[in-house]
Symmetry: C2
Subunit: 473 residues, 2 copies
Amino acid sequence: MSDQRVPHMSAEEFRRAGHALVDWLADYQARVAELPVKPRVAPGDIRAQLPPAAPAQGESFDLILADLERIVLPGLMHWQSPNFFGYFPANASPPAILGELVSAGLGQQGMLWLTSPACTELESHVLDWLVDLLALPQRFKSGGPGGGVIQDTASSATLCALLAARERASAYTAREQGTPSTLVAYCSQETHSSMDKAASIAGLGRARLRKIGTDARLAMDAAALAAAIADDRAAGLTPFFVCASVGTTSSLAVDPLPAIADLCQREGLWLHVDGAMAGSAALCPEYRYLHAGLEGADSYCFNPHKWLLTNFDCDCFFVADREPLIRALTVLPEYLRNEASASGAIIDYRDWQIPLGRRFRALKLWFVLRSYGVEGLQAFIRRHVALAAEFEQWVKDDATFELVVPRSLNLVCFRKRGTNADNEALLKRLNDSGRVFLSHTVIRGQYTLRFCVGQTYTERAHVEAAWALIRSL
Amino acid sequence: MSDQRVPHMSAEEFRRAGHALVDWLADYQARVAELPVKPRVAPGDIRAQLPPAAPAQGESFDLILADLERIVLPGLMHWQSPNFFGYFPANASPPAILGELVSAGLGQQGMLWLTSPACTELESHVLDWLVDLLALPQRFKSGGPGGGVIQDTASSATLCALLAARERASAYTAREQGTPSTLVAYCSQETHSSMDKAASIAGLGRARLRKIGTDARLAMDAAALAAAIADDRAAGLTPFFVCASVGTTSSLAVDPLPAIADLCQREGLWLHVDGAMAGSAALCPEYRYLHAGLEGADSYCFNPHKWLLTNFDCDCFFVADREPLIRALTVLPEYLRNEASASGAIIDYRDWQIPLGRRFRALKLWFVLRSYGVEGLQAFIRRHVALAAEFEQWVKDDATFELVVPRSLNLVCFRKRGTNADNEALLKRLNDSGRVFLSHTVIRGQYTLRFCVGQTYTERAHVEAAWALIRSL
């Protein structure tokens, strides 16, 4: 028997290092607004500071913490800076960080109800809460044939929706016999790239994903969708799936769900709705119009890890009927058989997702919902939308700039009047300044700056400073 | 503009709650050996204690922590108990828990190099370290055409390998045109169920996944594999992918990699090797024989989150050539375009995985490798193998019990001499006692108990107590 000591950190060392890291993170959040949002590093700069091999003997935590500060910190894009206005936000928050800490410390593996009943039940429960909080269709609750599950990302949720739809459309044979070569799926030209990825992964191929045109506001043209479906049927193909967006990534356009849902129900197509960022706004009654028509959808997802203060990864995915999803993904090797699963009285989330194993992600969501309360979360959403509305007004009032499309919730798409090259140069100067980070898109050929107000601690002063900087450059 | 306050926890509240939770987790680890490993709850017990709706106003962290103790804790399977011998372990450790904490606090989103250079480069670097530490083929390093990436699970890694292989085998058209209906993949009857799931997801269908028979030790029969490939070619099909296991889930059998790799190279098939748990043993030179033949593999994965002290999720996935993987999964919408990506000088990990977004998971791995050092990790592995060897000897020396197959590393598959029902009843009594948790499998029709020594803090006393309990029941 090997007698060499395993150098576990002692409980005391863990406490000391843990307290130090909690303090370091509190300090990080206090100083992050002063750090350059976009790091000033070139490819390879971080690796060049790391030794070529792992150490033979263990090192002290002080040394590791020092390297965290010296090597890692300067190589970060500061998503948690209140001056971060790029892409969509990736909210972290104190209760969510603490939820991740507890999840890590408990080290649960929630693949089956049996392997962590609390992980499974808290997840179902909190997702049921969210159905009510966002006024989603009641059939997404777990008490009936539907239910919710936490996925890592909307990409995975969309893939799972596609797989469930494929199973339903192929009389449940796709799982065994392969993707039928006649199936056709639909999204818009503005739908998130994860739809292309999902079509490839699922063996459909991107060629059998139709990109429907959009209207002036970049929302899917429902009439064009109907025509495409009819064309495909006439060609002997089998339309089976539509992905609609509540808030596209480029410009936060909202597809016309009522018309699309009607069409899907008439034609027997699975409707998946992706509300990745914008969905969170439905916490506020005044934004629930976004989800009008959702009662006709087969599945829906939104990401509390974007704009609801819950650390990545946390995508909430709901299905109206879990049977085709489970049928598409179920596996039951002998070593996972158990009484609880056989009883049918419980949920085994391994059958609701691509991976087998899973972390206890419901904890952070539970912490966030309880720590902020519904009214606190509503205030959070409203604050950001109000700030974006102010920013929009400033753009309108300044003849140097123009809106490219009307503001949608917390996203303003704007540009300097001038060439695309002017705008590209402006964005580069802004981001190279380190004082803000914005990202871009191209709308109808126009290079467009995206200004998304959504970071946990962004307040009026940050938005004002950003606007002053934009005008000055 | 909305003036309602957003009730963020203050920095001081975060510090206080964070310190309290670190202490709670340290205490948890100190008392977990005394808790029933398998929770004494029935389906619905946890949900019954949760209120039907989220609170309108925020609650204090003390209240949340109290409910964590009162509601969640009794509903956990204690994977972190030293008396947990079920399935494969899901190691947590102090440095990994702290790594998760830092990752949560920094709130990075590493989809692109640009969106977090440190997240990307630390990941490539630490995975290169592991190539050397496990003496994996050098072509898995990121300096050449290959490289490593962290996936959530081996299930996802296997799916990615299958997609890359599909792309390579279909002259890169699968992504666009769908999975060709002639492709055939191979694994053994003992391969992990994720291979079935991957074949379904990728549109191949389980019917085009051939389950090759196994030898006396439950390892894949390479001659039978060669025959199946020949048969499929004769039938006009296109063999393209083999998944081999270094340590099957049921009995930790090791497939004959040298023969399989030769065959795959001769036939032009992609060879993926799944070393999910057993792979970590290669840290010790005396166990590197497990990977003999791996130099002929196209991809490989193992899970530090199983038996290398790194919290779930952390699967390390390596490819010898990243081009087909990226080709299979790449997407490039306008809003993700950037100079760094266009330069080709960097890695954008979004193209190496199913989801788009990704957490900073390399931190915990870096913390673990540095905190334990290579020698510390070797001691950890050796201790468990030695304990399993002792347990095996006890089984051999007791006429009431028998080994079902010879021990493999840290897994002992054994049974009481008697009927399957006797053994099923024994397992139930053991697990219902709360003093240990074991899981089972069926080997050649025999209900078999699996005793896997791999939990972070399992020591000789725990294994002795488990054996005493097993004999007494």
